[in-house]
């Protein structure tokens, strides 16, 4: 089994806010991230697929194809956007790094599964070089 990772970057703005809470509680839990005017990051997305190298091409997946899938499914929707205001999955879910990792998995997994080559193994999202979240799918305990 080979694990192959493709990295991509996107820039987006967001804020953390739970509408079921008071302003005081939002500020207590989320601190500066609760600023309603938002703030932004340069995110790094790592997409790891797992599979066996093809006997003819030697590829686990074609990296150009994977780049195009990431571009179509994620970059076109998230890059240079306000995640809370412009991305449907964050209309009712707080765009924490954890939830961004889960959302990236859900956007990519069907396309990678349909290609019947490799399977999606791991999503990692870096909000800064020091902060990241990781998701390995529903099947992972």
């Amino acid at each position: 089994m080979i694990f192959l990772t493709r990295r991509a970057t996107f820039s987006a703005s967001h804020y953390y806010w739970n509408p079921e809470w008071t302003e005081e509680k939002n500020r207590a839990v989320f601190g500066r991230c609760a600023n309603r005017n938002g703030h932004g990051h340069n995110y790094t997305l790592e997409v790891t697929v797992a599979g066996e190298p093809d006997a003819v091409t030697g590829f686990v997946v074609d990296l150009k194809w994977l780049k195009d899938v990431i571009e179509e499914r994620i970059m076109s929707a998230w890059d240079h956007r306000h995640l809370n205001l412009e991305v449907p999955e964050f209309a009712s879910t707080i765009p924490t790094t954890e939830n961004i990792a889960i959302a990236a998995w859900r956007r990519l997994e069907p396309a990678i599964a349909a290609a019947q080559g490799a399977r999606l193994s791991r999503i990692r999202v870096y909000e800064t070089p020091e902060i990241f979240a990781e998701y390995r799918g529903e099947a992972h305990p």
Binding site: V29, P95, E98, N99, A101, I102, F132, A133, Y135, P141
Partner: protein
């Protein structure tokens, strides 16, 4: 539905790799430059990965502020700008980065407020690193 939250910290410390059970010649042979009597230092990078369910209300596995406080009080306040050999944890074991990694795993794991510690990774330099996922 386990999701993981990771965070990287830095600490600077000195150490000397030396085992009292070995002769000076053996220490020199095993540890090389790291056996220099006066020690030497590193900028260590400590990476922690915490796994657990995403809280429905906060959208978080663990609040980064809480994780920062745990790592700061348990690890950074203890080791940053210190000589590791003088810490009680290293009186009976050599402060290799393997052993530092295990101690950091134990200190963070025992005090975690949410989720489960998946691993601790300690980077001693850009070119070598150590990982521990249990003690």
């Amino acid at each position: 539905m386990t999701t993981y939250f990771g965070r990287r910290y830095t600490l600077s410390a000195s150490h000397r790799l030396h085992c009292d059970a070995l002769t000076p010649e053996q220490n020199g042979a095993v540890y090389g430059k790291c056996n220099n009597p006066h020690g030497h230092g590193h900028n260590y990078v400590i990476e922690v990965l915490v796994g657990g369910p995403v809280d429905r209300e906060t959208g978080m596995v663990i609040n980064l502020v809480d994780l920062d406080a745990i790592v700061r009080t348990q690890v950074l306040d203890r080791f940053d700008h210190t000589n590791l050999n003088l810490d009680p944890l290293f009186t009976t074991q050599v402060p290799t980065t393997e052993n530092l990694c295990r101690e950091v795993f134990r200190l963070v794991s025992d005090n975690l407020s949410a989720g489960k510690l998946e691993y601790v990774r300690v980077e001693e330099t850009e070119n070598n690193f150590f990982e521990c996922n249990n003690v």
